[in-house]
Amino acid sequence: MKILRNITLAVFLALTAVCCVSVPEAVTCDGFPLMEPDYTFVTIPENISPLNFRFPDADGFRVKLSGGNSSIEIKGKKDLRIPISKWRNLLLQTDTVLVKASVNIEGQWQSYSPFCFYVSHEPIAPYIAYRKINPGYEKFGKMGLYTRSLSDFGEKPIIENTLMEGSCVNCHSFASGNPQTMQFHIRGIEGSTILKTPEGVERLNTSTSKTLGSCVYPYWHPSEQYIAYSVNTTRQSFLNNVDEVLEVCDLASDIVIFDVQGRNLILDSLLMQNDVFETFPAFSPDGRKLYYCAAAALEPGRFREIKYALYEVDFDPSLGRLTSSPRLLYDGDGQSVSFPRPSPDGRYLMFTRSSFGNFSIWHRDADLWLLDLETGEKKPINEINSQDTESYHAWDPSSSWVVFSSRRGDGLHTRLYLSLADGRGGFTKPFVLPQKDPSLYDRSILSYNVPEFVLGEVGLSAKKILKQHIKNIEIR
């Protein structure tokens, strides 16, 4: 019995010794470990979900996150997943989370310089809406519109095309982030525009005999009374230059305004000129101006010469019509402007600038620019631009945060990045939308695009919507 007790004791001590062995002799390295995604020195909202990341080259890691009186220690092989409750507690206690990492690479432990996450207390909308789509061009596979909670990893579909096989869902747009007032399109067999207002949900056919086709690129008026749309005849062409995959050109495009109350379209010849391509409308936060992009109409063969400039025109919400001639805001300096988006405080306007055309998502040189609406000063946002495509972007209703899509991850699949705006035209280092599984972006071949901040979840029954009758809209 005594022998047995001694053996048990010896085994226990041996096990304890093994377990207590800390990191063996670690080599100290300058610089930071290779981690994906790169979250070093990013500024994050206080309610963001844990920034899970991975050490792709590691055979093991030990990470300590600390701040205030709290700390989290995590050990693992490659993937670091931070427990959400501990993370939440940590962010409540500090403005700076210090991260110390030791990584085992090919049997050798290496200690790296610590880095930080800066915690911002600027408010941010609790959700982001986006489209997840395979990067096909003509067929869609499985795709859909989703809302994602920023504070956890919860993603819910608004609608997926599994209910209408082969169709595409796109152009989701919210009135100042309000999930109760929104719209999106279905393209294909069940084609229609879904309009959700506090009064209910309707399916509309926005194509009329006097317009070029169905309405696209929506932007809600702050009063929720109007939606500005572009109507386009578009051609998609495949290039065989390895530097460029695809060019999408407009053969014609106009801007129309949809009166939500009257369910009719307001047409104005100023925005429907035959020799001009007008597109990407956006209302100013006070609702009294309409920003848009326009270019001289050229045939598709001259696609490299099509350069869009930024314009504004006065709009009277009480009359529902334009009240001035268009004014040039920025000619693009020989480049092309797309996706103008004014900040909700009315101070800035963010847009995408690329060498030509309007489908900037396929242009590697596409970058985000900022126009100061008070001073007229324009500048590229170097803090958030990369060598690859930056395209669609949206402001948080508080004007403090921006979300944008970029292909910087792998050159093809767009990911969503968030950055804090300092209110003086500066931005912090952007960080990719965190995922529960830090390897998700590495293995997923879905693109996340058209991000919008949303103030709540969108409660829609896709099955009920599809049972609804499609109503035609009229021209006012």
Binding site: F140, K142, I159, L163, S237, F238, N240, N241, V242, D410
Partner: protein, 561 residues
């Protein structure tokens, strides 16, 4: 030895399994290999989790794993035969629970043969058969529960639904049958619970999977490539339950010749049905495609020499193989041609994707791979298309993108070393060093112009040059051919010599002094062809000896001399 009914059942089941295996191995091996490339299976927890999180996910996961082995037709044939056998044995074992005479077990060959036959059509996936096997054996396992059955039924029904998808209806049916036949205590209550359990799956579906179609969840949508699984086949899932129900009503028989006759009828009927359902054109196209994908050009040409291809897609592959092995201008008209459609097909991403890849158009090849992948109605990412995307990304020096695909493929059972294979591939490396930077739109109707641009870029590539010149001959643009041949230095292959002779006969070029030199032997043949043509007034039957000439293809009979 006394012959028992169970021996007869076992013998005919063995015979049927042998027939199934032999059919798939000998008659449809390329169909199996093609199926392997049309799906993805990964050995990682994320893939497992994603698979299991929807109804029928376990059956799908197992099926995808098994389908990986279809790359070896013998293994694929064995897997299908084994699943079919397991279905019959499961039914047999289930019915033994309520003392059905093994005399009638022979009838279980009917559903077994039926579901094995469905797979002849590659729109049916083995997920259906796997789910059926799991449902039947699940029902058999339920029979072992002796106590508190009522408590188990609801969670088990949901579990079976999550494992087998629509085949839960078979499980429910068999359980009801079992309860009825064994006159279980509290039968009515148990039956009610069973039916309510099934209904609860519908309620759960509406709550948990509001974006999925009802027919996908409950009518076998995932057993079929397209979302609308034929309702008839779904209803026939009940065949296993109905057969079981009939069996327990049939009186035991003593005469053994009856099951023997039934067994023979079913096996012979299956043989006939296999022959009837087999689509040789599809198998032919798959055989050419599969070999082309692996760049087995010699094998493709050999297949063409054995038997001329009958479908357009096979012709495309054969012409590609001829071009890549430098024999296109020698052998183009040895096979029936379909103008430009024999080189590339409009609105097709699979076969044409192979052509554009082998002509070095990495963008268009990636486009074709994506579109083909997106057009898969079952939303699977075919492993072959992922392989192709990794190749095109590597060729275009999009290394981050190529890395992503290589990393995904690392977890697949047979493509873990794909990165090494691509990096050692001369073709990929050659294109990576000299990628296309010409700015042109891809459009099949403008194929010759595209080939001209390609030829100007890859001047040393014989396949592209031959594609270019032959495309002009196939569209009967003899003037265009002359200009193109001039830019290529007037190559002297058999077909081109025929074209030069024809140009001379038309008075468009002099015989000597200027390039191209018109071959005297070819001119003599052309003269005799024209004489035959004139004497027969162009009747095809009189010109059979010229079938493999350009002149015959162009119906050339009027000369300009």
């Amino acid at each position: 030895m006394k012959i028992k009914p169970s021996y007869i059942f076992a013998s005919f089941l063995g015979l049927l399994a042998l027939l199934i295996a032999a059919f798939y191995f000998y008659v449809q091996p390329y169909g199996l290999r093609f199926a392997e490339g049309q799906q993805l299976f990964l050995f990682n927890t994320a893939f497992l989790r994603d698979s299991l999180l929807h109804p029928g996910g376990a059956a799908e996961y197992i099926s995808r794993f098994l389908t990986c082995f279809f790359r070896f037709p013998a293994a694929g044939a064995l897997i299908i035969a084994t699943l079919a056998t397991l279905l019959a044995l499961g039914l047999c074992s289930f019915c033994r629970q309520f003392s059905i005479s093994s005399f009638w077990s022979i009838l279980f060959l009917a559903p077994t043969a039926y579901y094995a036959l469905l797979l002849v059509n590659d729109h049916y996936l083995i997920t259906g058969l796997t789910a059926l096997v799991l449902a039947v054996w699940g029902a058999r396992a339920f029979c072992c529960i002796n106590k508190y059955r009522g408590l188990f039924i609801l969670p088990l029904a949901i579990l079976v639904w999550m494992i087998c998808g629509a085949c839960v209806v078979v499980w429910i049916g068999l359980i009801l049958l079992y309860l009825l036949v064994t006159k279980s205590r509290g039968f009515l209550w148990l039956a009610l619970v069973t039916i309510l359990s099934y209904i609860s799956c519908f309620i759960l579906a509406d709550l948990l999977f509001p974006q999925l179609r009802f027919n996908w969840l409950f009518q076998g949508g995932q057993f079929f490539l397209y979302p609308n699984f034929p309702i008839g086949h779904f209803l026939l899932l009940w065949a296993v339950v109905i057969v079981s129900a009939i069996l327990q009503k049939l009186p035991p028989m003593r005469r053994l010749y009856l099951p023997a006759i039934l067994g023979a009828v079913m096996v012979c009927g299956s043989l006939w049905a296999f022959g009837k359902l087999h689509n040789p054109l599809k198998e032919e196209a798959y055989s050419y495609y599969v070999e082309c994908r692996q760049a087995n050009w010699e094998k493709v040409v050999e297949m063409g020499q054995k038997k001329s291809p009958e479908s357009q897609y096979s012709s495309i592959c054969l012409n590609l193989a001829l071009a890549r092995s430098g024999r296109l201008p020698e052998n183009l008209f040895d096979y029936p041609q379909r103008e430009l459609e024999g080189l590339i097909a409009a609105n097709d991403f699979l076969y044409s994707g192979e052509v554009v890849y082998n002509l070095g158009m990495s963008n268009e090849s990636a486009h074709a791979a994506y579109e083909y992948m997106m057009s898969r109605a079952d939303h699977q990412y075919p492993v072959w298309q992922l392989c192709r995307l990794s190749q095109t990304a590597y060729m275009a020096s999009d290394d981050a993108l190529a890395r992503k695909y290589f990393d995904i493929l690392k977890d697949s059972p047979f493509y873990g070393d794909w990165e090494d294979r691509v990096k050692k591939d001369d073709f990929c490396n050659k294109l990576r060093e000299n990628p296309l930077r010409e700015d042109f739109y891809f459009d099949v109707s403008n194929f010759s112009e595209i080939l001209k641009t390609l030829h100007n870029h890859y001047t040393q590539d014989i396949a592209i040059k031959d594609y270019y010149l032959c495309s002009l001959l196939l569209i009967k643009d003899i003037d265009g051919f002359y200009k193109a041949a001039e830019s290529c230095g007037f190559p002297s292959n058999k077909l081109y010599k025929q074209a030069y002779a024809m140009l001379y006969a038309l008075g468009k070029i002099p015989k000597e002094g200027l390039l191209p030199v018109v071959d005297n032997e070819v001119m003599k043949t052309l003269d005799s062809y024209i004489r035959s043509y004139e004497s027969s007034r162009g009747r095809a039957s009189a010109l059979t000896s010229y079938r493999n000439t350009l002149w015959y293809y162009m119906n050339f009979g009027q000369t300009g001399r």
